[in-house]
Symmetry: C2
Subunit: 213 residues, 2 copies
DNA sequence: AAAAAAATACCAATTTCTAGGTATTGGAAG
DNA sequence: CTTCCAATACCTAGAAATTGGTATTTTTTT
């Protein structure tokens, strides 16, 4: 344990009770000099800017931003901070995205204090901590990478489809020809390799659920 | 505060770290004689049976059961226990269902220690604690009550539709006529007052998300 | 400036879905 | 025992979606 190094930790999580719990749990860990809590990303960014914490514990779901955005913003504001996601999310795609975006760790809230401390220490030694699930190679389709290939218009139309609008209705709303909407729909289907709009809607709703739209 | 009454509390939550935090946070509250933690509903039920706790703090999402089921089972096993939902869920329908099923409180994890203690004390005086959202009368469609009116077959077919299967494919899988599937689909649409399968799929996916299927 | 991608629009054919009706069977509830 | 509902199945007509191809204009990227 590198307990001789005292670090500043910023914990961003809208679940106040959880944050208070963490605070109480880590309260007498001597290697933590400061443990600050922010309940929104905005608040977190303001604090991170001033505090320049060595470590940021970040919840994936925040009221004012989605996980990936939060991660990117924080790293821009405070590049020296190491970010560990601490969240209940467990989707492999989400975890992989966080890893790719430069997080040094991803912890689920199902872990215990011991595991948390281990991860904190590892992070300070620049050793990443990720759940084993992302090591499993059994993966073929990554929703996020797929959605990235949709253009703005296509995303817009995909969303309207998943709200139950017909092509004709979408056309009217966007002041476009129905034929144009049909073309867009066809392109969306091809790009996402889906075979009907039921699958498209299921796909879109799952994205919304996972908060990576 | 009724601090002179010492109660036994059971906390059921798969998020160990959160539970440890709560434990640490409530550790020196004298009105709590015992604070036991269970990580699954099964474990929780075993403990509740023996312990007969005055109070149960229950997470809505558990790995081995959904929220309503958990609530019902616990009340059967330990009828004298008051149950407070302590969860990140905030859907008004879910809250209302919990209230209807006999919970004495519903708390989101965004609250703080103070609010939690207040709710615990109230619960022991038989005073319920629910978020103000369910008092708001602006509600017309309750997904759960809607889904309840679907028959088994209809639910099954609705789910297959939301997986992207066509009527013909569903018919083949279930060894039924495609015409039968069409009839079922029509009845589903009518019962749920939806106008196309896109809306149906969105509806089903939201239910899955909310864990009230 | 040239090439690539996105957005737009059209035609035609086919499949799938939606909506109206009807009807038989079996089981559950009264 | 009868009445109600779920599950099954059929017919028909029309609406919507899917799939094939093509083409022009604008925007973005190289």
């Amino acid at each position: 344990m590198l307990n001789f190094i005292e670090i500043k930790v910023l914990h961003i999580d809208d679940h106040l009770l959880f944050a208070q719990g963490i605070h109480s749990l880590l309260g007498n860990e001597t290697f933590i000099r400061e443990l600050i809590h922010a309940q929104t990303l905005n608040e977190g960014i303001r604090i991170a800017e001033k505090l320049q914490p060595e470590l940021i514990l970040l919840d994936y779901f925040l009221p004012d931003a989605n996980g990936i955005e939060s991660l990117q913003l924080l790293q821009k504001i405070s590049p020296s901070s190491k970010v560990i996601l601490l969240t209940m999310e467990s989707n492999p795609d989400v975890i992989e995205n966080c890893k790719r975006e430069g997080a040094i760790g991803f912890l689920q809230k199902t872990i215990g204090k011991k595991t948390l401390l281990e991860a904190l220490n590892k992070a300070m030694q620049n050793i990443p901590t990720f759940p084993p699930s992302i090591l499993a190679p059994t993966r073929q389709s990554n929703p996020q990478s797929l959605v990235k290939i949709l253009s703005k218009r296509e995303k817009q139309i995909a969303n309207m489809v998943s709200e139950g609008l017909t092509s004709a209705e979408i056309a009217k709303k966007l002041f476009l020809s129905e034929l144009t909407i049909n073309t867009h729909r066809r392109n969306i289907m091809q790009k996402l390799e889906l075979k009907n709009s039921a699958q498209l809607v299921a796909f879109i709703e799952k994205l919304k659920f996972m908060d990576i739209s």
